[in-house]
């Protein structure tokens, strides 16, 4: 899929924004479903939270924090691109969004383990 005319930074930034958006959209209903346990079935929520302490879930949360952060920073970049005066260095901005998100998710993981 990424070949020929697509092999450049901003196209990959576009793809990452789409993938993170779809992944978050799939995550959110599950997130609210679990939150509803707090009202309807507190013992089920406790069970879930206990399971959420396992390393595999912590690692998945690292991915989740990364997706959230990269989607937010990428979105801010696009809004700046469309509403503020043009700045060169869009590639740098997109790469910085990935770097900052990796850093944030890494901090989250280190605090979790």
């Amino acid at each position: 899929m990424i070949h020929g005319h697509r092999t450049h930074t901003l196209w990959i930034a576009f793809l990452l924004h789409r993938i993170s958006g779809v992944a978050l959209a799939l995550f959110l209903p599950a997130h609210f479903w679990v939150l509803s346990y707090a009202l309807n079935a507190p013992q089920k929520l406790d069970g879930f939270l206990h399971w959420a302490e396992t390393p595999i879930v912590k690692f998945a949360e690292f991915g989740l924090v990364f997706l959230l952060s990269v989607h937010m920073l990428g979105g801010l970049r696009l809004m700046a691109l469309e509403f503020l005066p043009w700045t060169s260095g869009q590639k740098t901005a997109a790469a910085s969004a990935v770097a900052a998100s990796t850093f944030l998710a890494g901090i989250f993981l280190l605090r979790a383990i």
């Binding site: 020929g4 005319h5 697509r6 901003l10 196209w11 576009f14 691109l81 469309e82 869009q90």
Partner: protein, 240 residues
């Protein structure tokens, strides 16, 4: 004497339905992709159709897909694109293929007109010539896009065009942005209306392939972002 070096070149044959045909072409020290196409047409198969005119990167008629990337073939050195002695040459993407490497450019140029990328005069030929400050903000912005040679490389590189045939595309929108910033243009509202419709500037996903592949290193994505700002400002101004 060193052995004559050959490269294998796959060239698109046929219209929308067709196939790549392999050719063996002699390697030269200095050879552009257009030279290779011309060699095939002159020495291997005279029925090969392609389009070119100036051979020096001014006319914008020789653009083709080379290994899946749109390029001006007259200014692309073979050594830059050859992979393991092979390259693939096809007609420009996102345009109807007439035959072999020649595409129908009509949709591309029709969209220049649809985007109002034309001059709307403020004066007549009887008025004195208006002095324009070359350093004024509008003129600097307009200048950024005027080196466009209409080669359609950006149009072929754009995935938004591929997904939405109504989308005006990077070149037409960049032209509209240049005209919009021209202080000698009388009809800026017409331009904003033309570029904010169904196929207008708001379709752009800022993938930036237009700016990456433009052979003259122009930045249509920058121009489209300017049109987005202009149309947004216009929208809120009108609501007051």
């Amino acid at each position: 004497m060193p052995k004559e070096q050959q490269m294998s070149v796959s060239v698109w044959r046929g219209g929308a339905a067709g196939a790549y045909q392999p050719f063996d072409v002699k390697m030269e020290d200095n050879q552009t992709v257009l030279d290779v196409v011309a060699w095939i047409q002159q020495y291997a198969d005279p029925t090969l159709s392609y389009r070119y005119a100036c051979r020096v990167g001014m006319c914008g008629s020789c653009a083709m897909m080379v290994n899946g990337v749109p390029r001006w073939t007259c200014r692309t050195h073979v050594k830059k694109v050859l992979k393991d002695g092979h390259m693939e040459i096809g007609p420009l993407r996102n345009l109807p293929v007439i035959k072999d490497l020649a595409t129908d450019m009509d949709p591309f140029f029709d969209k220049w007109v649809a985007a109002e990328g034309l001059h709307h005069p403020t004066q007549t030929r009887h008025d004195p010539i208006e002095a324009i400050d070359p350093d004024s903000a509008g003129r600097v912005e307009a200048n950024a896009g005027i080196e466009c040679i209409n080669c359609s490389v950006c149009y072929a590189a754009c995935d938004t065009v591929a997904g939405n045939p109504d989308y005006l595309g990077p070149a037409a929108l960049q032209r509209a942005w240049s005209v919009y910033n021209d202080s000698k243009d009388a009809n800026k509202q017409t331009i904003l209306d033309a570029v904010s419709g169904v196929g207008g500037c708001h379709n752009c996903h800022s993938q930036g392939s237009c700016a990456v592949h433009c052979p003259n290193e122009l930045n249509p994505m920058n121009a489209i972002a300017g049109l987005k700002r202009g149309t947004a400002r216009n929208f809120f101004k009108r609501r007051k």
